[in-house]
Every structure is written in C-alpha cells, then in structure tokens.
C-alpha cells in the first residue's frame, strides 16, 4: 500500500464524485430530508395524549408504581387504573369499547430486582396507528431506561404487544432513535448504492483495466474509495446530529465511541458494494443484486424503528444483518453511553469489515482472466 497513490486516487475519485452530484445528494442531502420528514411526522403525533388502561397485577408494588410514574412523566400518556379483578384486560377493553392497555404482571418487582425477565403486555388497536405507536413506543422507552438502570441495558423488561402491534415505537423519543438509525442508514446506503454502480460501470467501461496498467493496486484503489466514504459519513453524521438536535431537540450526544462505527461501517459496506458490483456481469444485474442486499438491511436493522419493537422472528433476522450492529452500537454510544455494548458491536463490525475488505480485494479482478 502506497500512501501517495492512495491519496492521488482519492483526489481523482472525489473530484468525479463531487462533480457528478448524484452521489452527494444520496450521501448528504437525502438523510437530512429523512430526518426532517420522520421527525416532523412523529413529533406531531406525540403531542396528543393517549388514554391507557393499566392493570397492575403486582399489588401496586413500589417498583411497579415507579414504572408507571415514569410512563406518566412522559406526558404522552394518561394512565387509568383497572382492577385485576376484571380478569383479562383485552376482553375488558373490548367490552368497554376502549383500545389501549398495559398489564404489569405479578412478580414484577421481585423479578426486576432479581434480573429475571419480565414480560409487559401492551394492548393496542392496530387500526389506530398513531396512538398505538405512541403507547408501545413510550412503554418500550421507559422499559429500556429501567433495563439500563438495573442491568446496564440487558433485557429484563420486555414488551409483549397484543393485537397486531404496529411498528413505529419511540424510546426516549422517536427522534432520539431516529438520529443514530439514519446515520446507520447513510453508512449503508451511500457506499452501497454508489459502489455497486461505480464498480459495475468501471468494469463495463474498462476503467479498471485502465487502472491496472498503472502501479495502483486493487487494495489501494479500494482503500482510497473507503477513505472517501468515511469522510462523507463523518460529515453527514455531523449534519444529522445538528439537524436532529436543532430541529427536534434530539437527546443524542456526540461520543468518541461512535468513531469505530463511522470508520468500520464504510469499510464494510464499500467492500460489500464492490463485491456485489464486481461479481455481476453488467450494471443492470449489479443494481438488482445491490438492491437485494441493501433494502432488507435498510429496513430491518433498526434504521427507522428500534429492533426491540420487532416481533421475535424479525428481530432474529435483524441480528444477522451487519448494519444492525452498527446501529445498535451507535445507539449505545449516542443514547445510553453504554461502553460494553459499543465495544461488542465494534468487535462484530470490525471482524466483518476485515472479512469483507479481504474478500473484495480477492474476488474483484481488474484484469480479465
């Protein structure tokens, strides 16, 4: 690896990128549009308060009351208490023509202290998407805080949604999750979409062949493009944090713990994009392969909605997606300040980045064989 050649290629690559403008839109402008859009939609809906009927089966234990108090303090929810003696809360709500409910199970307090998993049942009406999102989001958010306090983020309290739960939960607040989620989104999409395209176009236009006639090596070429996407990621992260905080008061903090993800993420996805582009026989196939890889990852890794709100099987799927670890790590770094989680996620993303980089350099050929 020769730094001078890497720098030269970086400057030529950057010029081409900046001059064509399309890439820049996706890398910098698009995530901001998304923040503004999603932020606006969800900050409006959370201004209404929702009536929630609570059935406390834990005999009004101190911990259960603290939990409910925390929910109450969000001001998004009006709590009403329902006696455990009415039996099944779902049925009761249905009979009384009400929609949203929460069941605190018996043993809540002791299980919480003993760090035994506890399942909270949240009942919502799937037809009322805006209120059900708020209810599950708020309960989820408070549960997360309690998990953090007691077990450093390990899941004790979990939510059992009833009646087709709608995705769209907020934790602290939706916008707080949205910022790291969209940073992850742009770490994924800005290198993936353009690398898939660039690498298949370069192959078709024989530009790799042209570069192979110079001392530049494949690894140097890939490294310089990675550096470019790291720069873009850092810039877009700064902008997104500023917009999130400025426009919506997002409670995210800039932490040095984010850095590994802003570096390793682009390494991983630039390499993956190159792999996808170079195994495809033409740019059209490359675009299809790129989309097949990118789209599921884009929606299922916690970009727009926290993975903790996913039904079990979908959450399992999320755990095999590399972007999940990027976003999980960013959440830990920017929201919870949870060092342990960031380090584990850094390790996972780091290993994947090395594997994908090595695979890309190996599989991708400048010369026809």
């Amino acid at each position: 690896m020769n730094p001078r050649r890497i720098f030269l290629n970086l400057s030529v690559f950057a010029k081409g990128y900046l001059r064509s403008r399309v890439g820049l839109f996706f890398a910098l402008v698009f995530p901001i549009i998304l923040i503004l859009l999603f932020g606006a939609i969800f900050s409006n809906s959370s201004s209404t308060t929702v009536d929630v009927y609570v059935q406390n089966q834990d005999h009004n234990s101190a911990m259960s009351l603290r939990f409910l108090e925390a929910i109450n303090s969000t001001k998004a929810i009006n709590l009403h208490f329902v006696s455990p003696s009415v039996g099944n809360l779902s049925k009761w709500l249905g009979a009384n023509d009400l929609s949203d409910g929460l069941v605190i199970p018996a043993g809540f307090q002791s299980d919480y202290y003993n760090k035994t998993p506890v399942v909270l049942t949240v009942i919502t009406n799937p037809e009322q998407t805006s209120t059900s999102g708020i209810v599950s989001g708020v309960v989820q958010g408070v549960a997360n805080q309690f998990n953090l306090q007691r077990a450093n983020g390990t899941q004790i309290l979990s939510i059992q949604p009833e009646n087709l739960p709608t995705l769209g939960g907020q934790s602290f607040q939706y916008i707080d999750y949205l910022v790291p989620g969209l940073i992850g989104f742009s770490i994924l999409t800005s290198p993936m979409f353009s690398m898939v395209n660039i690498s298949s176009e370069y192959k078709k236009e024989k530009l790799f062949r042209q570069l192979s006639l110079t001392p530049l090596t494949k690894a140097e070429w890939l490294t310089s493009t990675i550096i470019w996407y790291i720069l873009l990621t850092v810039i877009s992260t700064g902008i997104m944090v500023a917009v999130g905080q400025g426009a919506f008061g997002a409670k995210v903090t800039l932490s040095p713990l984010m850095l590994p993800f802003l570096i390793l993420g682009p390494i991983l996805f630039t390499s993956l994009g190159l792999l996808a582009g170079s195994v495809s026989k033409d740019p059209e196939t490359a675009a299809v392969i790129g989309n097949i890889i990118t789209f599921p990852m884009m929606f299922l890794s916690g970009t727009f909605f926290p993975v903790s709100l996913f039904p079990g099987w979908l959450a399992t799927v999320a755990h095999v997606l590399p972007l999940f670890y990027v976003i999980d790590g960013l959440n830990a770094a920017m929201l919870y300040g949870n060092v342990a989680v960031t380090l584990t996620d850094t390790a996972v993303v780091g290993v994947l980045a090395v594997i994908f980089f090595a695979a890309a350099v190996r599989v991708f050929q400048w010369r026809e064989t």
Binding site: R4, R5, N9, Q210, T214
Partner: protein
C-alpha cells in the same frame, strides 16, 4: 539489436474459439511494428496478452524480457498503452488525468508540454466526457507517454478519427520512433501501416498471413501489374466471361491483374467491344492493399474480406 517482444507459438482460446492460433514473432528495439488485420483477426487479443491484460492459453511470451501476465506490475513502468476503445473517468480533464497518471508512476511531469506534444493543449481543462473521439484518443496517448515508456502498444489508435486527428497521432508516433522508442501498433488501415511501420505483420483468423517490410510483403505476395478502370461493376462481369485473368470490382473501379504486357491490349480491346462506358484508365503495381485483400480475402470462404474487415479499407 535487442528484442523487445518475443512470441513463440502463442495460442489463445476463448472457450471453443481459437482467437490466436500459433503466432511467432519478434520485434526489435526502436522498431515501429504494425499488426494489420480485419476485425476479429486476433489483434487485440494478442496485444492484450503482450500488455499483461490477459493470460495466454499456451506459448511463450516475453516483453522486455519479462512475462507480461505474471510480472505485470514490474513491466507497466516501462510500457505505454492505449487499449482499444480507450476510456477514462468522465469528469476528469486532461491536465488532471496526466498529473494523476504520472503521480501513480511516481513521475513529475510537465502536463502542458505533454498536452502540447499530442496537440491537446486547448482542451486541457475540458472534462473527458466533453471531448471528441479524436481528443479522447489523444488524451489516451498523452497518458501512455507520462512514464517515458520504452515500448508502446497502440491498439487501433486512429480508428474512427477524422483525417486531421489521425495525422496528429501519426506525428506523435513518428516522434516516438525518432526518440528510439519501440511501437507496436494495430490497425486495419493499410495506409497507416505503410506510412509508419518498419515492418508489418498481416494476421487473419489468428494466424500470420505475411510478415516483413511492406516492400518484402509486396514482393513476396504481390502479383505484377494491375490495370484499373473507372467503370460500372458490370464491366467486371463482362470481362470475367472473356478473359481468365483475376478481375475485381469495388467502388466503381474495375481492377484486372495482368500476367504479361500483351494482356493490356487484349483487355482494353475487350473493354471497347463491351460498349460499357468507362473513364480513367491506369496501370499500377500491387500495393500493400492489393496484397492484403488477396491474403485476407483468400482465407475467408465467402471471399468478402471477412465482413467488417473490408469496412476498414478505404
């Protein structure tokens, strides 16, 4: 003399297709060597093997004493290459491209003097995508020059260019020769080969059909005098029924290959008898073009110069 290129029994298969079928040749230092053949003859395949862009199926290949496929990163420092259909990054202009390229080779160059050398100085800051075909090709040539190569490979550098652009590229090739550099040029323009090359290799269907100086080739493969008339093709049809000499017709020109001087009178008499109008009569010796047509035409079954091959002949 030193050998810069050495090929022995070079074979290249693309699946079932044998694109290069046992080529032996040797190019000396300082030589301009033209590889001439119709489209699909195997020129690009051979050149790409020499440049280290393609592996061979079998045979011996040495370029500047190195194996171009395995020792490619060593070799490129000493080579200048314009691939067929040269392309570059769309939004980079020639001056940046030259500086970039030279930097990769670890060379400091005066971009403007190279641009001047290829007569592209007035387009120094136009994006590549905005350049004309000829200007793009000149930029390719400029890139091939940045590392002061000993040996240049130019794969159809003038195909599709206007005469002026073609001439300026010829000029550069001549100046390269005068600097003692070796040039391996492929073309399907005979004129170009004849004007520039010390030696020519005519290749067809992956095999060498003729090799030597243009004079040697004409001597060896040419056939005496040719009588040319400007007349409609039906004159050729008429003559074919009357004489047993080879008669060709192309672009309103009818060529008759003569065996003896007496044939001239005989043919002209027949022309007169035919009553078909004609103008401009001349006799000439075979040119490289005649030889090329004969050699390449002979080896194609349909006799139409291997399809696209004829398109390149003017």
């Amino acid at each position: 003399m030193t050998e810069v290129i050495h090929l022995q029994k070079l074979v290249k298969d693309y699946g079932p297709l044998r694109a290069v079928d046992g080529i032996d040749l040797s190019v000396q230092k300082g030589e301009v060597f033209a590889f001439l053949g119709p489209n699909g003859a195997g020129k690009t395949t051979t050149v790409e093997i020499l440049e280290g862009l393609r592996p061979r199926t079998s045979g011996t290949v040495r370029v500047l004493g190195l194996d171009p496929w395995t020792e490619n990163k060593k070799l490129i420092h000493r080579l200048g290459v314009i691939p067929q259909d040269f392309k570059f990054f769309e939004k980079i202009h020639p001056r940046e491209a030259i500086t970039f390229y030279a930097g990769l080779f670890g060379k400091k160059v005066d971009a403007d003097s190279i641009l001047k050398q290829v007569q592209l100085e007035d387009k120094a800051t136009d994006w590549y995508e905005k350049l004309s075909g000829g200007q793009k090709q000149k930029m390719g040539l400029a890139l091939a020059l940045v590392n002061e190569p000993e040996l240049l490979f130019l794969d159809e550098p003038t195909t599709g260019l206007d005469p002026q652009a073609r001439r300026s590229i010829w000029e550069v090739i001549r100046s390269l020769k005068s600097e003692g550099r070796s040039v391996f040029l492929t073309t399907h323009y005979l004129e170009e080969a004849q004007l520039l090359a010390d030696r020519v290799c005519i290749i067809n269907h992956g095999k060498i059909a003729a090799l030597g100086t243009p004079e040697d080739i004409i001597q060896e493969h040419g056939k005496g005098e040719v009588l040319s008339l400007q007349a409609a093709p039906r004159l050729a049809e008429y003559l074919r029924t009357k004489v047993d000499l080879p008669v060709r017709s192309e672009n309103h020109t009818v060529d008759v290959e003569l065996s003896t001087n007496a044939d001239i009178l005989r043919v002209l008499n027949l022309v007169e008898q035919s009553g078909i109008p004609w103008t401009g009569v001349s006799t000439r010796r075979d040119t490289l073009e005649d030889v090329f047509i004969r050699l390449v035409g002979k080896t194609t079954e349909s006799g139409d110069l291997g399809g696209a091959g004829s398109g390149g002949l003017k």
